[in-house]
Point group: C2
Chain length 362, copies 2
């Protein structure tokens, strides 16, 4: 975003409101600070991308314009998957990213984002803020010189678009599917041949037949890429992303230099962006799903044997990682107790309500 | 909270952090403002009550101590159910409350809190921030001179404690149940004799046999009141509170006088308290449920015929209110479209995941 339009946008909040008050205040003795935030996301993923802009706008309002964080889309100053390194070495002060992008460094990053058959978004948020998750992940991030904060959540993602219908786990054998990361490893154990393909290349690959299936995010983002035209079977749930948390990364040394009011501004603005980004997806996805169905998408639940096989493969993968990665295991043991307790509780009041109510005509 | 302990608490954030930085800033030209916030909740409902304290602490940190909101528990300066009037007439600048307490003024207040067979907490948050809910409820609140902001959510509540097991809707006839408000009206149509009894009087009433059943909140709050000892049948879901949103109320004239940075501070701190309070319940309830079961609570889902009858009664009540209350109907029509779309979407990825995963052994 240009500086001019950024200022214009900010003025609809801070400056406009100040004009209506008698005493227009100034944070006179605060230092003026300019930071750069590298997003891992293109502007086309507008719901996710906007969370960083919203956070930056709020920080600016809270500090009367003095703490100015400029947001850059993926590739503008740093490549999408280079943002962790860029924050670590101080190229930028901040990033907005999905921590599972750095699974190649260490799978422990996934606890800050998504684990197959992991936590739903409410459970993840509860674990982070009140279940020990923020402390546990921050201890891990310390070696990367990064302070992490939750920065949005997509909720449970969809299970992707398939050219052919999947009637049992047998139908997965040999299917080339665009599914990166941990989810790809799970699918690989079920016979799928996972492919890592950037977002913009998925549609042409499906159209040409280079791949037979692809997962992306959920109805709102999926609709824009047009997958329904070439692979209309739309499966749920995306069990490898029971929820996908985004994160703000802050260079730890830059963080320590901030005055207390600016630290508070970042924490409050990040938490606000976290809850509002999820709310935005939850408001947009219902309409997008209806639109996709009207355009011919065919909705299917993964068959029970696929879910059961995927669950077993996920548990096996987690056990194997625990056996070889002490940092992973340290967080896993605490996280898994939380997951177990949380599953027991959420299947009661929440599930008891949802399973009945969501099937009523209202 | 005493001023001394408030300052001590604040010092763990702002002051302590400032000590580690070279330049300790000061918001030199900002006005010093002291506000009072009347909570509708006793300190014993600690998760809900604390959301107001957390919001006030964050506002103080964001403004370098200059915007000081002192929180008073229910009854300290204003009775629990008098806080809307107190904000409206300027006795206090703010309140933290559950809007359905004011159903006697107008049932339209319920959209800001809970409606039988209404929205889950994620759906409610989505409706408020990105589905038109905040604009719609604020238009309604204008006549009360109040600006409302979401301030926490309990999630789907439990369905209460019953002395005897409920096997069908027949078993509800004539049962005296502590259940206030809209939920009481629904239950009344199913044959229950609803009673409005304050929290502290519920246990003695159950013990003496004055009532046969009682609903309160969820495992964490319910355990403290000991209901399991005298009415061990613990039912779910609390379909009259599919989620219960708490709200901050701000006197509209006082709001307009605030400098823009203080308005931003209140908005950000309220949103942060909103998400973190929900997270705290979601972290506490699982352990409390396990503890209650260990102490002899017997968990039951309401029978299907009870849920079906309650759903029909709720729809009838909403239709009757629409017929006589144009303010209610105006919001209802928009809300109900959101509810329908949201139910259609949430039964896909979220339900598809939850229904499978929450029943696995992890």
């Amino acid at each position: 975003m240009e500086r001019r339009s950024f200022l214009k946008q900010a003025s609809t909040g801070a400056a406009a409101a100040a004009a209506t008050t008698l005493a227009a205040p100034a944070i006179a003795n605060e230092p003026s600070i300019k930071w750069r935030l590298a997003s891992s996301f293109p502007k086309s993923l507008d719901t996710i991308y906007q969370a960083a802009e919203d956070m930056a706008k709020r920080v600016k309002e809270l500090t009367d314009g003095k703490f100015d964080i400029r947001v850059f889309a993926a590739g503008e100053v740093v490549p999408a998957f280079g943002v962790a390194d860029a924050v670590q070495n101080g190229t930028v002060e901040m990033a907005h990213t999905a921590s599972y992008y750095f699974v190649g460094k260490n799978k422990t990053f996934c606890f800050d984002c998504a684990i197959p058959f992991g936590l739903t978004s409410r459970q993840q948020t509860a674990w982070m803020y009140h279940g020990g998750g923020l402390a546990a992940t921050r201890e891990f991030f310390r070696e990367f010189n990064i302070i992490n904060m939750p920065g949005g959540n997509t909720g449970t993602q969809m299970g992707g678009w398939w050219r052919k219908e999947i009637k049992s786990v047998e139908d997965l054998k040999g299917v080339k599917m665009r599914i990166p990361g941990f989810g790809g490893e799970v699918m690989s154990r079920l016979g799928v041949v996972p492919q890592a393909i950037p977002g913009g290349d998925i549609y042409p690959s499906l159209e040409k037949g280079t791949i037979d299936a692809a997962e992306w995010v959920g109805p709102y983002d999926d609709e824009k890429l047009g997958f329904f035209k070439v692979a209309p079977n739309y499966y749920y749930p995306g069990f490898w992303e029971s929820s996908t948390q985004l994160s703000f990364y802050i260079n730890a040394k830059e963080w320590e230099k901030l005055p207390a009011t600016y630290k508070a501004a970042l924490e409050a603005a990040a938490a606000e962006a976290h809850v509002k980004m999820q709310a935005e997806y939850d408001a947009k996805n219902p309409r997008a799903l209806a639109s996709l169905l009207a355009k011919g998408a065919k909705l299917h639940r993964y068959p029970n044997d696929v879910l059961a096989a995927a669950f077993k493969a996920s548990q096996d993968l987690l056990a194997e990682e625990n056996a070889k990665n002490p940092q992973f295991k340290k967080i896993f043991d605490q996280w898994n107790r939380f997951r177990n307790d949380s599953y027991q509780w959420f299947r009661v009041a929440e599930q008891g309500f949802a399973a009945f109510a969501f099937n009523q005509k209202v």
